[in-house]
C-alpha cells in the first residue's frame, strides 16, 4: 500500500514537471503556430468592434509580417509583394466591408527547411457577413513561409494552393 502511494506521488510529480516544461519552454513550432493564432485574432471581427479596437488590431496585424511579404494567389491583380503597412491598410479596408469576419486555421503542418525559416501548410477558412447582409465562406489551402527576425516569426510569403483547378 505504501509503495502504491509513492508511485502515485511520483506519477503526479512527473506529470506536473512535463506540464511545466510544456508551458514554460515553448518550442519553435509552438511559436510559429502562435503567429497563426494571432493572425486569426487580428483579422476576425465582431459586429460591436469599435474604431480604437480596429486600429489597435491593424497595427498588431502589420507587426506579424516581415518588411515585405509576397502574396501568391490565382487572381493576378492581388498577387505581388506588399509592405506590412500596405497589408494592414488593405486588411482594414477589407474588414470595413464586413460586419462580422472570422478567420480559422486547420491542420497546420510546420517544417523547418532551413535555419530560421518555417514552412507551414494549412487550411484557412474565412467566414463572414457583409454590411449588406450577404454571407461569405471561403476555404483555401495555404503555404506560408515565416522567417525568424529578432526572436519573432514573421510572415514573408503566403501562397494559395489550388486544390481544384478550373
Amino acid at each position: 500500500m505504501v509503495k502504491l502511494k509513492y508511485i502515485l506521488i511520483a506519477i503526479v510529480i512527473v506529470g506536473l514537471g512535463l506540464l511545466a516544461t510544456r508551458y514554460l519552454f515553448q518550442s519553435e513550432e509552438k511559436r510559429v503556430r502562435k503567429q497563426f493564432d494571432r493572425l486569426s485574432e487580428y483579422v476576425s471581427k465582431e459586429p460591436d468592434e469599435n474604431v480604437m479596437a480596429t486600429a489597435n488590431k491593424m497595427q498588431k496585424l502589420g507587426s506579424l509580417f516581415g518588411d515585405s511579404c509576397e502574396l501568391q494567389v490565382s487572381v493576378e491583380a492581388l498577387s505581388g509583394t506588399y509592405t506590412r503597412e500596405e497589408i494592414a491598410s488593405y486588411a482594414a479596408r477589407a474588414r470595413s466591408r464586413f460586419s462580422r469576419v472570422s478567420l480559422e486555421f486547420y491542420d497546420p503542418e510546420v517544417v523547418f527547411p532551413e535555419r530560421d525559416v518555417a514552412k507551414v501548410t494549412l487550411t484557412a477558412r474565412l467566414t463572414g457577413q457583409t454590411r449588406a447582409g450577404e454571407r461569405m465562406r471561403e476555404t483555401r489551402e495555404l503555404e506560408c513561409l515565416l522567417k525568424k527576425s529578432e526572436k519573432k516569426w514573421l510572415f514573408t510569403h503566403i501562397a494559395v494552393i489550388e486544390v481544384l483547378q478550373k
Partner: protein
C-alpha cells in the same frame, strides 16, 4: 440475478481491472476507427444540394478507394491540407478525358452525359479542357449559380480521400 441488479450493473459497473482494460480498448478502437477510417463530417454549404443538404451529418468512408479508383458520378471527399476540412463533390470526368459545359449540359469527349442529380437550372458554358493524368474533374450538384461562384475543377487522386457513407 434480478432484472434490477442487471440494469444497475450495466449502467454502474464495478471498476474492476478487466472493465478498465475493456474501456481502454474501446476508447483506442473508437479513436482509430473514427479518426482514420470513418470520419464523422458535418456538411456546410449548398454546393451539393439537393443531394446533400447544408447542415447534414454524414461519415467519410476512407477505405472506399483502397483498391479502386473513383468512377464517374461518384460523390467524393476532397481534402485540403489535412482531414479536418474537405470538399464534397461529384466526379464528372476521369483522367485523359475532355470536359466541357454547353448551356449547362455536361459533355465528356464531345458526348453529352446525363446528370439526373442536377435538379436546379444551370446555364454554364465552359470551354473544353483535358483532365491530366492522376487527376479527376469534380463539380458540385448545385449549379444554380454563376460559374465563377462555384468552386470546382480538376484535382489529383491523392486528394480524394473517401466517399460519404450515404
Amino acid at each position: 440475478m434480478t432484472l434490477h441488479s442487471r440494469i444497475r450493473r450495466f449502467f454502474l459497473p464495478s471498476l474492476t481491472p478487466r472493465f478498465l482494460i475493456r474501456v481502454c480498448f474501446v476508447a483506442v478502437f473508437a479513436y482509430l476507427f473514427f479518426g482514420h477510417v470513418l470520419l464523422p463530417i458535418r456538411i456546410q454549404g449548398t454546393s451539393m444540394e439537393p443531394t446533400y443538404r447544408n447542415g447534414g451529418m454524414n461519415f467519410c468512408w476512407k477505405l472506399r478507394y483502397l483498391f479502386s479508383k473513383p468512377e464517374r458520378h461518384d460523390v467524393v471527399a476532397v481534402r485540403f491540407a489535412g482531414n479536418r476540412v474537405m470538399l464534397l463533390k461529384r466526379v464528372v470526368a476521369l483522367e485523359g478525358e475532355q470536359i466541357e459545359f454547353r448551356d449547362g449540359e455536361l459533355f465528356v469527349d464531345g458526348k453529352e452525359i446525363a446528370e439526373p442529380y442536377v435538379v436546379y437550372p444551370c446555364n454554364w458554358n465552359l470551354p473544353p479542357r483535358r483532365v491530366e493524368k492522376g487527376s479527376v474533374y469534380v463539380v458540385g450538384d448545385n449549379r444554380n449559380m454563376p460559374l465563377e461562384h462555384h468552386y470546382f475543377g480538376q484535382t489529383t487522386l491523392k486528394r480524394v480521400i473517401g466517399v460519404p457513407l450515404w
